[in-house]
Subunit: 483 residues, 2 copies
């Protein structure tokens, strides 16, 4: 199928992304006078709202309960779990003054909420009978990033942080919960047509306070990977630190087990990036604020009234059928300019209606993903729009997965891995002995970061050897140039 | 109509409110280790979610666009409008450190967002043609309250602050917008059955930076008033301070006019309080997380299977008809205890189903507002539930308005006003000459706070005199014991 070009999209991605956020009026970045903080604009907010609704549906329907905890975490709470504070200390924003006075206790802007929710769980949960318990909240989190900040990708205020926190009566049940989290995120990303790679993060780079961490990564248009979701088995690390105890069936007391898992603004950054092309965003129909934009093509005086009525009828018909429709009636803007604007904004379908369409009783539909044109008779309009939107969603998903698969390859030597990553980035999998020392050396030798290992050792590493120490490989290690 | 008692509700309201938040599992307050900050629990969050949806519907359908601005406002931005910072300075939380270093620029946790949005509007708005422009956001705001904090009523983190910000090409159009805001809030409060008094706030107690402020107040069960919404005409105060200019039709440049208006968690606090009684909350059906709770009454062994099927059929039928239904199947809790819990949580309708109902093909419905019982035949169930829910909403609204009206009275002397307010609180209206000096004295003499004056001078003050200076009254002044 024909596709609009993806030259800038691929070769100049960071600038393409800044451009699309601006031209599509999604997110205003770089003007607000605090580094790493931006503003969601109305059109972008509508995309965000639909992604948030999708997340809520998925979590509510799997027994998660939404709560809302305070933004501010007192220092003594944040310090209670030793590994956790070590991991976050360098990134915390601190409130030290209020009402003209110094505070006795410094208050952190939440970098994440394991500490505050575990503190509350010591009041909320008493018995194994109440477990498993699954909470979540959708909030802003704050991290004083020292790396270069990027809109929606690396921010100091992450405004769409969905964090789930669960409690269990055994290690195994928490393990099972990580599996459920993975299934939920798969469904979320599938709904958005976002392709992913699931890895178990290496020991030396897991979440601060976790027993183990599973991560979802995707490959951005320039071949760098982006971590778009994580799930952590927290063991009893936080419940011991906060002295949360539950009664077990035999009436003894024990510390319950926990998990936590999160996704962020990066989900929205990815759906805008991964499906885009040189003309701008291409939004999956289920989160597009406008699914069909009608552009009336000017007609001569005598036909004007009939033309207007015809356009209004088409709009009404589509709206009654449940589609999100907008007619762009602006008189001081030419159709070509309108096409350009709505294409940049990623509206999945454009309907053009001019004299020809009025006379023939048709509508000209243009797909945003392929730019293909279809002439549709009025009587078949609703049915055809439904078919095309579903086709666009499917095409975006397929194209994105093809892209991802084309960017993942295997290598058996450091040289090969280096060459592939320097030529076109993406992800390279290497056989690995499983030792931390060799993993860290691989990062240095290949000049890339480790994403982790497949959840199960892949078949293909059997008989292969670790390129660092030469010992038999027990699994594969994925390396990539990361965002 | 019969009503459950409202003794504690009225005579011991603050404690009743703390109790209802706890027993109904709405909001966990007083345990989180930062003063003035609490946790929305799952059931409370569902109420909040529906109130937020209602607010969004009302604003979206009147051309407001939702945005999201950063939490942190740099000190120089917050200080730009002189009156504004004077009003908020004593209440601001400051971030001064991050990542182990002192920040060069102190960052305020937003107490409200007039300054940050006006700063952005200097980029966004160029011409009168784009006006009026109406933005809003729903966010947490932070105020270092020194008065006694109260859950949802006076907090240091207000978690459900809806703030609208609009821009206009004339003073008059901003004036009209304040009128629109008033109409929107009337519809919001009407939907929730919350009664209100609308006043123009006195000059000496308007919003910091406003030309004038209009406030919505309600009367809580103990007779104290609570401010539940405000709308401000901001004139050009902020646009001048931030040098926002627009092009007018004659191509000259001028500063545009602004308004802002907000509601908060207090809307939810009010709907829980105002409709309640000694048994707990009574939720309006449109925001109740559960509209009908089915309590199966245990039956003897032989009927058990038929009983279960019958209950499941009723539940399915109600769910398919679009009601939010839950069946309380807990086996270790007696029906009486279940009644108590669901009444405290304010579920509008309870359906009891025992042997008698199964045999007769009926359902016993119990209204939460009046505790009246109605036996309904299965064939008429959906229709009857619909009628009862609408009746409950109407009854709550009527009862709340009657309550409010009974708490507002007129007085012509300071003594009379003092007596009424000390006997039963509520609101007292006094004739007033309109002078600030007399208004301030009235507050002292009556020992109450001014709510403001009616938007239009009322008929009844004609010919009356100001009780302080004896000059002819030009309007009325409303005084009350406030929260």
């Amino acid at each position: 199928m024909a596709q609009p070009p993806r030259e800038r999209w691929r070769s100049d991605f960071p600038r393409w992304f800044d451009w699309v956020l601006e031209v599509a009026e999604i997110y205003d970045y770089g003007r607000y006078p605090v580094k790493g903080m931006g503003v969601w604009l109305p059109y972008g907010f509508q995309i965000r709202r639909r992604v948030v609704e999708l997340i809520r549906e998925l979590l509510d329907s799997t027994g998660h309960e939404e709560v809302l905890l305070p933004l501010l975490i007192p220092e003594h709470l944040l310090r209670r779990e030793a590994e956790h504070i070590k991991g976050f200390e360098a990134e915390v924003f601190w409130v030290t003054r209020a009402g003209g006075e110094d505070l006795d206790v410094k208050l952190a802007l939440r970098p994440t909420s394991e500490t505050s929710i575990t503190f509350m769980e010591s009041y909320w949960i008493k018995s194994y009978k109440e477990l498993p318990k699954k909470y979540y909240q959708i909030v802003s989190i704050f991290r004083y990033e020292t790396k270069a900040t990027r809109p929606m990708i690396r921010l100091r205020e992450v405004t769409t942080f969905k964090e789930a926190h669960t409690v269990h009566d055994s290690f195994e049940d928490a393990d099972r919960q990580v599996g459920e989290a993975i299934e939920i995120y798969k469904r979320l990303f599938d709904e958005l047509g976002i392709p992913y790679i699931i890895s178990r993060r290496p020991e030396w780079d897991k979440f601060a306070g976790a027993v183990y961490t599973v991560a979802f990564d995707t490959v951005m248009p320039d071949g760098r990977t982006l971590q778009i979701g994580t799930a952590h088995h927290l063991g009893q690390n936080f419940t011991i630190a906060f002295d949360v105890k539950i009664q077990l069936p035999d009436e003894s007391l024990d510390y319950p087990w926990q998990t936590s898992y999160g996704v962020s603004d990066r989900v929205i950054a990815t759906l805008i990036s991964i499906h885009g092309d040189d003309r701008g965003a291409v939004l999956p129909p289920n989160v597009a604020p406008i699914q069909v934009v009608i552009v009336p093509i000017p007609v001569e005086e005598g036909l004007r009234e009939r033309h207007r009525r015809y356009v209004e009828e088409v709009e009404g018909e589509l709206r009654r059928a449940g589609f999100r429709v907008k007619t762009d009636w602006r008189e001081d803007v030419r159709p070509g300019r309108k096409f350009y604007e709505w294409e940049a904004k990623g509206v999945p379908l454009r309907a053009e209606i001019g004299a020809r369409e009025v006379e023939a009783g048709t509508v000209l539909l243009v797909r945003r993903d392929t730019l293909e044109k279809v002439v549709v008779e009025r009587g078949r309009l609703v049915e055809e729009v439904r078919r095309l939107l579903s086709d666009i969603a499917e095409n975006l998903r397929r194209r994105a997965w093809e892209w991802l698969r084309s960017m993942v390859s295997r290598a058996e030597s450091v040289e090969e891995a280096r060459r592939v990553l320097s030529e076109r980035r993406g992800v390279v999998e290497l056989p690995w002995c499983g030792r931390e020392r060799c993993g860290l050396q691989l990062e240095e030798l290949v000049d890339a970061k480790v994403l982790g290992s497949p959840l199960r050792p892949p078949e293909w590493v059997r008989g292969k050897r670790c390129p660092v120490c030469g010992a038999p490989a027990v699994t594969a290690l994925r390396l990539a140039k990361q965002y």
